[in-house]
Structure formats: structure tokens, C-alpha cells
């Protein structure tokens, strides 16, 4: 990129910061200030306003939705330091990154690592422009925690595979354009028989059925493949390398789930403030439910300790350059605390925290019910708590497999 001669790193940063600020002023529509794009990948496409479209295209053209990806594939080509500055300036301008979804969070980084030159040229640029939605074809009815047990089979037909099978928990499958999938190409080897393939969701033989969840929402689908033709150009890596590639991709997923997944995002109002409104206080100004009072303080202390741990992991990663062992507990602890919080909300709000729809409840109360229910999935997906515990006890603590 065009930048000032490198006199000092500091002046470089300042120049870049000024450039970003100027660009944001020129390109970020004021009408979108304070908008949050973070849920769009779960809730599906919303109608894009003219300003939203312009913003997405501007960021896409600059490559700044995927700031550290290489410029030759449409990324921003920025250093980590520059990406950080971009991020800071975006928050300062109350702007958001309009380029997101699974393509950015999981698939893109994996393809950059394992894809062929032709694959990168074909698939990365549309991701950087936010034009293509990707979904994940991993889990199957009999391959949940035991993911390597997938049975969806791709039969070798020379220049293409014919894929048959069923995937489940396909997030956003009903809205996706393409799917990165684990497909068995060899039945005689469990892990080594898996290949990583890219499948067009509008190809003949692909059927998608949304799954209704206990929260009433349908963010996931069952995806059926019936004699779906997948050209061999869409095989990523080598045949049989799918497990390695697929696991690498899951690392990106886990980073995202524990780093700031919606289940553990701290809402604006702390529990104790909410409790005062619903429960009231006694003459001493204490919450008028002694047990609830200590439960909330227990939760708030645990939560602070969790945040402290997450920050400590980050700091350690920065200094050592590696991922600390402690990071293995973040997903299970973060999701547990998220669920605990949702249950506490019910105790605080009583019957008001259990509304389903309609009259008698505020929007916030109704949302709280759905969040509580959907939050039950956080300890199941993305590697269940049980799987996390296995990883911790076997890999981190060196405890023997009981088998």
C-alpha cells in the first residue's frame, strides 16, 4: 500500500491513522452510526438500505472488512498494528464492520492456508466484499461430538464427486450460497478418509430444511445431499486431508465463540441494577431477597474473574506468541456463566422473565426468555462442554483415556 517512508514506526502509525480517519469521514454514512452488524449472520439477511449497501461496498473495495488478509485476494493487506488502528478508528467513528459471517471468521483463513491458488482467487475476493454467504457442513445426525464419524460420502467419478448424505446444524443454511463440507471419500479409514469440499448450495440435489429450536427460532438447518455433483476443483487440499483442514477451521470457530460470542456478551445493565428494579430493596437499601442477593454477587465475582482470565490469556499470548493452556477453559467457563446469568435473570424477573410473546411483557423481557432458551445451545455447539472437558483432562492435564 502507499504509505509514507518509514522514518519511525510511530510516524507511520500516525500517518495511517490520519488516512483511516479521513477515509471514514468520507465513506461512513452518518445514518449508520452506532449500528451493530454482529447478529446478521445468525438472523439471516435483512433488507439492506442504500446506505448499508454503499458502506459494505466501500469497505469491500478497500479490503478493510478483512484487514489482514493479503491484498492480492481482496484483503486489506494491513499489518496487525494497522488493523488495530483501523479497529480503534472504526469504534471512534461509531462505525461497524459490514463484512462478516462464516466466510470471514472461519472459512477464509482456512482457505488462505490450505487452498490452491485458483481456489483462493475464486473464493476469497467475494468474501472480502461481503457478497457470498458460506455455511458449514460438518455435523451429521450420528456425528456430533464424534465428528470424525461423518458418513456423507463423495464417490469418485473421475473429474467430479457424487455426494450423498445428510448434514445437520448447518448455521444459516437457508441463506447460504456455498457450503464448506467434510465429506467421506474413503470408508476404510475414519480420520484419513475425510476430505474437505466446497459445495454450491444451489446445485441440483441440495435440499435445506430449517430446524425449529426450543427458542422458537430457526438459525440452523438440516441439509440433504442427493447425488450432488461436486467438481474436483472444489476439493481443498488433498483427498483424505479433510480432518486436518477441518480441525484447523474449528480453531478459528472456537476463538470466535469464546472471544465474544453472544452468549457471553455482557449486556448494558448489570444484574444487580436489574434486580433492584424487579425485586426492590429493604430499609437498609439491600436487595429484598437475601439469597438472590448473594447469588448475584457470586455471579458478578465469577464473571469478573472470567474476564480477568480472558485478558490474562490474551496478554500471555502476546508476550509468548503462543496460545496458553488456560485458553482451554474459556469456552466452557464463558458459556456456563452465560447460562447461569440467564437463569438468574428468571429468578430476578420471576414470571416476567418467562414470557413468550404478546401483551404484558416488555421487548427486553421477551428477548430475555428467548436468549435463555437459545443459550442452552452454547454448551452443546462448537465442541460441547463434555468435549472441552475431555480435551482439558487428556491433553492439558495428561490424564489417561479411560478406554
Amino acid at each position: 500500500m502507499a504509505s509514507a517512508p518509514a522514518d519511525t514506526a510511530q510516524s507511520d502509525s500516525d500517518t495511517f491513522r490520519a488516512e483511516v480517519r479521513q477515509w471514514l469521514e468520507a465513506n461512513f454514512p452518518a445514518s449508520l452510526k452506532g449500528n451493530d452488524n454482529s447478529l446478521s449472520s445468525v438472523e439471516g439477511p435483512t433488507d439492506e438500505s442504500a446506505d448499508e449497501k454503499a458502506w459494505r461496498e466501500a469497505v469491500g473495495a478497500k479490503g478493510w472488512g478483512t484487514p489482514t488478509w493479503p491484498k492480492e485476494y481482496g484483503g486489506g493487506g494491513l499489518s496487525r498494528e494497522q488493523a488495530k488502528i483501523l479497529n480503534q478508528e472504526m469504534s471512534r467513528a461509531q462505525a461497524y464492520n459490514p463484512i462478516g459471517g462464516m466466510g470471514v471468521m472461519m472459512f477464509g483463513p482456512t482457505l488462505l492456508e490450505y487452498g490452491s491458488e485458483a481456489q483462493k482467487k475464486e473464493h476469497i475476493p467475494p468474501i472480502t466484499r461481503g457478497e457470498i454467504r458460506w455455511c458449514q457442513g460438518y455435523s451429521e445426525p450420528n456425528a456430533g461430538s464424534d465428528l470424525a464419524n461423518i458418513q456423507t460420502f463423495g464417490e469418485d467419478k473421475g473429474d467430479h464427486y457424487v455426494v450423498n448424505g445428510q448434514k445437520t446444524w448447518t448455521s444459516g443454511g437457508q441463506w447460504a450460497d456455498k457450503c464448506f463440507a467434510l465429506v467421506r471419500t474413503d470408508k476404510s479409514h475414519k480420520h484419513e478418509g475425510i476430505s474437505f469440499m466446497l459445495i454450491d448450495m444451489d446445485a441440483e440435489g441440495v435440499d435445506v430444511k430449517p430446524i425449529r429450536m426450543i427458542s422458537g427460532m430457526s438459525p440452523f438447518c438440516e441439509t440433504f445431499f442427493t447425488n450432488v455433483k461436486v467438481p474436483k476443483e472444489n476439493l481443498v487440499g488433498k483427498e483424505g486431508q479433510g480432518w486436518t483442514i477441518g480441525k484447523r477451521l474449528l480453531q478459528h470457530e472456537r476463538t470466535n465463540l469464546s472471544g465474544g460470542g453472544s452468549a457471553i456478551r455482557m449486556p448494558s445493565m448489570p444484574l444487580h441494577a436489574m434486580a433492584k428494579t424487579y425485586v426492590g430493596v429493604n430499609d437498609n437499601g439491600e436487595l429484598d431477597d437475601g439469597e438472590l442477593r448473594t447469588k448475584i454477587s457470586d455471579f458478578e465475582m465469577q464473571w469478573r474473574s472470567f474476564l480477568g482470565t480472558a485478558m490474562r490469556v490474551q496478554a500471555e499470548a502476546k508476550t509468548t506468541g503462543g496460545v496458553s493452556e488456560v485458553s482451554s477453559i474459556l469456552k466452557k467457563v464463558g458459556t456456563k456463566l452465560g447460562q447461569q446469568r440467564a437463569e438468574l435473570m428468571i429468578e430476578i424477573m420471576g414470571m416476567k422473565g418467562l414470557g413468550w410473546e404478546g401483551e404484558g411483557f416488555s421487548d427486553e423481557e421477551l428477548r430475555s426468555t428467548r436468549t435463555w432458551l437459545f443459550g442452552k445451545a452454547t454448551t452443546i455447539y462448537g465442541g460441547s462442554t463434555e468435549v472441552q472437558n475431555n480435551i482439558i483432562s487428556k491433553r492439558i492435564l495428561g490424564m489417561l483415556d479411560h478406554q
Binding site: 425449529r212 429450536m213 452443546i380
Partner: protein, 359 residues
């Protein structure tokens, strides 16, 4: 399991057969999908009443079978297992208890036969906020006219008789009175909840039962709710255990994993304690013991906590499929939480238990 008489065993078996064959969880799903106004299928409740279930605790001279609380508890346990949507708890236990404890002869002979036959549904209208707090009421009564608003009234949409708490006592209000208006509350368990407003509705006081009549009524209702929760917890446990024995991952049935075995062993223990607490409550009522209040708080708190834990684990141990609406286990989680709040959370009852024991 308590020692049951031959008649009680027959009643329980009959309830078990009926819920399995006529009213399995699928029937509740239908009620939910059709969004019935009452929150239950009236024809189903009529059938239950025909089998005598609505009159189990009602004296024979008022059309019941005077069969006691333990017997009704057995039926509630079975309907809890199948999540049968019906006003059995609110009407045949709650409202019936209020009349039996505090009603005059006239009030009893007017209302109890109708409750026993299922002709009308009675319910308790006690709380005036989202959290159970029977001591707090702004309902006013003057010249036989009652005014005020009651929130989260179970079966409030279909009730033909309201047992209404006020500062100076407990009143009967005919659901058909022009001063009664109700507004549907759609709760996560999809039953017949309502907010009920009384605007100068004709009210008759329940003169019997003493100063703590409301507590006595609520204690019966709490023990009944605990019996329903016991059935739900037992069923959620059974279904989860069967699933673990059948689901294969890593070439092994899940039930062979020690970490899961121990969790089920813990739950097994908790549900056994829950059963003892519920049966203790029901027996205290039938034996007219002096420690009913304590037994009720114990039953409700222990039941709340057991179903809370069981319903969470049921979903988690089922994994992804437990999160789907298509699968029934989520219904248990949803119903569990409203029952946990109804007539007192665990915190409410632990506090009360301490108070009852002077500490």
C-alpha cells in the same frame, strides 16, 4: 415410594395408562400448536373429571370421592410425566382446598360439586407482581364488592371461580361476574395464564379456616405443584437415561462414559429426595399434621431445585437434538421454570422455612 392402598395403586395405574394412551406429550404439543384459548383441551379435562380426578379430595356429599391428597398427588405426578395440560392442579387441588378449608356449608354445596364434576374450573388469584409475594396485596373489598388486579393467574383464562386474596382475608368471585375481566398472558410453557382484573366484582368471604387460611390454601397448592414437578423430573430422567443408553458416539453408547454415569447417579439421588419431600407433604395433609407449612416449603424448594437441575441436564445430555422444538424434552424445561416460580421460588421457601423454625 409411599405405601399405597389397593385403591391408590389402581388410581395411579389408571392415570398412568390414560396418560400413556390417551394423553401423551404429543397431546400437549397439539394444544401448544393450536394455541387454545384455555391453554388446555376442555374435552380432555371433561374426560379427566369423568374418571373422578377432579373430585379426589372433595367430600362424598359434595360429589367427590374424599380420597385424599396423596391420591390426587399420584394423579398429578402422572399428568406431570406426560405434561398433560389441564386445570387439575389449580381447580381440583387449589380451589377445592380453599372451599374445603374455609367455605361455609352453602359455599361448599354450591361450588364443590361443580368443581368435582369438572363443570367449572376454579383457581387461585393471589399474586400482584411477577414474583410470588402473598403478603403484598392491594385488593380492596367494600360492601361485598372486590376490586384489584391479580397477575399470572394459572388457568385464569378458563376459570369460572376465582379464590382471591385480599388484605383481610380470602374471597370467592364468580368468573361470570360482570366486574371480572381477563387478559391472556403467553408464557413459555404455553398454558392458560392470565392477568385478571376485578372491578367491583361481587365477592363472598371465606369465613372458615382461621387467620392463616391463605397460607393453608397455598401450602396445599405448593405440595400439589411439587407432585406435578416430581412426575416431570422422573419422566425427564427416564427419557434421558434411555437416550444415553441408545445414542452411540465414538463407537460407544454414551451411557458407557463414566462422566455421564456419575451425573445420572447424582440426578437419581436428587429425584429420590424430591419424591420423599413430596410424599411427606402429601402425607402431612392427609394426616392433618401440625407441620404442614414446613412440609410444604420443604417440598416446593426441594422439588424446584431438583426439576431445575434435571431439566438443565436433560437438554445438555441430549445434545443438539434436545435443543430442537421437534423433540419433547424442551417442553419439560419450559414448564419447569413456570412451576418453579409459581407459589414461591426456592429462595422464598428457604427463607420461610427458616422463619418457621425461628432462625
Amino acid at each position: 415410594m409411599a405405601i399405597l392402598s389397593e385403591e391408590q395403586t389402581m388410581l395411579r395405574d389408571m392415570a398412568r395408562e390414560w396418560t400413556k394412551k390417551e394423553n401423551p406429550v404429543g397431546a400437549f404439543r397439539k394444544v401448544r400448536d393450536e394455541k387454545l384459548d384455555a391453554g388446555y383441551e376442555p374435552a380432555v379435562y371433561a374426560q379427566m373429571a369423568e374418571m373422578g380426578w377432579a373430585g379426589v379430595i372433595i367430600p362424598e356429599e359434595q360429589g367427590g370421592s374424599d380420597f385424599g391428597y396423596m391420591s390426587l398427588g399420584l394423579v398429578l405426578e402422572e399428568t406431570g410425566r406426560s405434561l398433560t395440560a389441564s386445570p387439575l392442579l389449580a381447580s381440583a387441588l387449589g380451589a377445592a382446598s380453599a372451599l374445603i378449608l374455609g367455605g361455609s356449608d352453602d359455599q361448599k354445596s354450591h361450588w364443590l360439586p361443580k368443581i368435582a364434576s369438572g363443570e367449572i374450573v376454579g383457581t387461585l388469584a393471589v399474586d400482584e407482581g411477577p414474583r410470588h409475594n402473598p403478603a403484598k396485596t392491594e385488593v380492596s373489598v367494600s360492601g361485598g364488592k372486590l376490586s384489584g388486579t391479580k397477575t399470572f393467574v394459572p388457568e385464569g383464562m378458563s376459570a369460572g371461580l376465582f379464590i382471591v386474596s385480599a388484605a383481610d382475608g380470602v374471597y370467592l368471585v364468580d368468573g361470570a361476574d360482570g366486574g371480572v375481566s381477563r387478559s391472556d398472558r403467553s408464557m413459555v410453557d404455553q398454558r392458560g395464564w392470565a392477568e385478571v382484573t376485578f372491578d367491583g366484582a361481587a365477592a363472598q368471604k371465606l369465613e372458615g379456616g382461621g387467620d392463616d387460611l391463605l397460607d393453608q390454601i397455598l401450602d396445599r397448592a405448593r405440595i400439589g405443584a411439587a407432585a406435578e414437578m416430581l412426575g416431570m423430573a422422573s419422566q425427564a430422567f427416564d427419557v434421558t437415561l434411555a437416550y444415553l443408553k441408545q445414542r452411540v458416539q465414538f463407537n460407544q453408547v454414551l451411557s458407557s462414559f463414566q462422566a455421564l454415569q456419575h451425573r445420572m447417579a447424582d440426578l437419581f439421588g436428587e429425584i429420590e429426595l424430591m419424591r420423599s419431600a413430596v410424599e411427606n407433604g402429601l402425607t402431612a395433609l392427609d394426616d392433618k399434621r401440625g407441620d404442614i407449612a414446613m412440609a410444604a416449603s420443604q417440598a416446593k424448594a426441594v422439588a424446584n431445585d431438583a426439576i431445575h437441575h434435571m431439566s438443565k441436564e436433560a437438554v445438555q445430555l441430549h445434545g443438539g437434538i434436545g435443543m430442537t422444538d421437534e423433540y419433547d424434552i424442551g417442553f419439560y424445561l419450559k414448564r419447569a421454570r413456570t412451576l418453579e416460580q409459581l407459589w414461591g421460588s426456592s429462595a422464598f421457601h428457604r427463607e420461610r422455612f427458616a422463619r418457621l423454625n425461628d432462625y
